[in-house]
């Protein structure tokens, strides 16, 4: 079993099995849980930030132009962003196989 699945020597564990690296779940890909992906229509987008606020998976990041872009490494495809976009700028599209 590879190390990133947790199998390491007991000698390498911090006391108490504490995890010393904060927020290291960023390394963990949840994007492959997804069947649908959000697609943004920048024409309609008003950069209100609702998708950013409501994404349970913290996928949205602001780009240089101020648009909120979904990081598909994490996006599980729940569709909350699309359902709550006030301008219907996001559509959920079936992932291509």
């Amino acid at each position: 079993m590879p190390k990133d699945q947790g199998l390491i020597s007991w000698k390498e564990l911090a006391p108490g099995m504490f995890i010393l690296e904060p927020g290291n779940s960023v390394k963990f890909k949840t994007g492959d849980w997804r069947a649908y992906k959000p697609v943004l229509d920048k024409e309609k987008c008003i950069k209100c930030g609702m998708c950013y606020a409501l994404c349970p998976d913290l996928c949205y990041e602001k780009d240089e132009e101020g648009y909120f872009i979904c990081n598909l490494y994490y996006c599980k495809g729940c569709g909350i962003c699309a359902a709550n976009c006030p301008k219907n700028a996001i559509t959920m599209v079936l992932e291509e196989a």
């Binding site: 990133d4 947790g6 390491i8 099995m17 995890i19 690296e21 904060p22 927020g23 290291n24 779940s25 960023v26 390394k27 963990f28 890909k29 949840t30 849980w33 950069k47 209100c48 930030g49 609702m50 950013y52 606020a53 409501l54 994404c55 349970p56 998976d57 913290l58 996928c59 990081n71 490494y73 994490y74 599980k76 495809g77 729940c78 569709g79 909350i80 699309a82 359902a83 709550n84 959920m92």
Partner: protein, 317 residues
């Protein structure tokens, strides 16, 4: 109004803080309406925060070794005792500040995240003790209305009529037979400075309430409505919509109680039909017209109580 809240400034949706105390890569279900308010709360609190989790979904999805989604210091001890653990942390901070081992100027938020089972049921005594002792901490109950972590068993927060695996919609008894416990009433009876209900459908309101909770000296409590697509049998994209409908149907009124004074945040004069809320969820699919009638009546009664309480203090939202 409490002096700590005098200069309170709310958040702006367009300019939310960049810092997230919670990291992506967590294992919550698609469309989880419980991790969503958790994320928002940590955003509101910022990095100078110590978090305590009760056992439950949020603890499980955030910490499968060797990964952690917590960017703030975090501890999980057991199911029932997160309020006591937090009170120990708060006491330690207090005395270590007095002894000069922690800088006196440093404001450290101590926040608990616990589900409805951990709060309404198994941890109620611990919560009561911590509130009564007056620790300066924030307790956030993420209420998804059943024991989701163990496979959707009923809790005392499960709504009347709802199907769960231990309150099944049977041929004779159709779902939960009791009304949801009035937790806010219990909490408010402890005379704490700040208590509020909040919903992820109103993210800025929720964050503002978390911030207020952190500003007041003494215990603060947030009862947060937290839709669970898996447990409720709804579509993952509907969890925010359901949170919104719960407010608009008067099922989950949004209000604050500051020093015992009730403030209704959102008056619902023309409530949406409760059926709109029910029909999106499998847990209510079996409800009989009589049950729905009973629920409607009781929901209105409970809502009116909050309206009356807020009117008697005469504070406009």
């Amino acid at each position: 109004m409490r002096p700590e809240l005098k200069d309170f400034k709310g958040f702006n949706l367009k300019k939310l803080p960049e810092y997230d105390g919670f990291a992506p890569g967590h294992r919550a279900c698609q469309g989880c309406g419980t991790v969503l308010p958790l994320k928002l709360a940590l955003k509101a609190l910022g990095p100078n925060t110590i978090a305590v989790s009760a056992t439950g979904c949020m603890e499980i999805i955030s910490s499968p070794f060797p990964y952690t989604s917590w960017r703030v210091p975090w501890i999980h001890v057991a199911f029932e005792n997160s309020a006591s653990v937090a009170s120990g942390i708060e006491a330690a901070i207090k005395v270590l500040k007095r002894k000069g081992k922690i800088s006196k100027r440093e404001k450290i938020n101590v926040v608990v995240f616990a589900g409805d089972g951990a709060t309404f049921d198994i941890g109620l005594q611990f919560l009561s003790g911590a509130l009564e002792r007056g620790h300066d901490f924030i307790y956030i109950c993420l209420d998804n209305e059943a024991y989701m972590n163990t496979g959707v068993q009923r809790s005392s927060a499960t709504p009347f009529g709802a199907h769960t695996t231990t309150s099944p919609a049977g041929k004779v008894i159709k779902g939960q037979v009791t009304w949801k416990k009035n937790l806010m009433g219990i909490v408010v009876a402890h005379n704490i400075p700040y208590a509020a209900t909040a919903s992820p459908a109103y993210p800025v309101d929720l964050m503002n309430k978390v911030k207020k909770a952190s500003l007041v000296n003494g215990p603060a409590f947030l009862h947060v409505f937290s839709p669970c697509p898996t447990g409720w049998g709804c579509k993952s994209e509907d969890s925010v919509l359901l949170a919104k409908l719960a407010v608009e149907t008067r099922i989950f009124p949004l209000y604050e109680v500051i020093d015992g004074k009730y403030i209704l945040n959102r008056k619902i004069d023309k409530p949406k039909p409760i059926e709109e809320y029910f029909k999106l969820q499998r847990r209510f699919r079996h409800l009989t017209p009589e049950q729905i009638e009973y629920i409607k009546k009781r929901v209105d009664e409970e809502y009116e109580k909050v309206v009356k309480l807020s009117e008697c203090f005469g504070i406009e939202s």
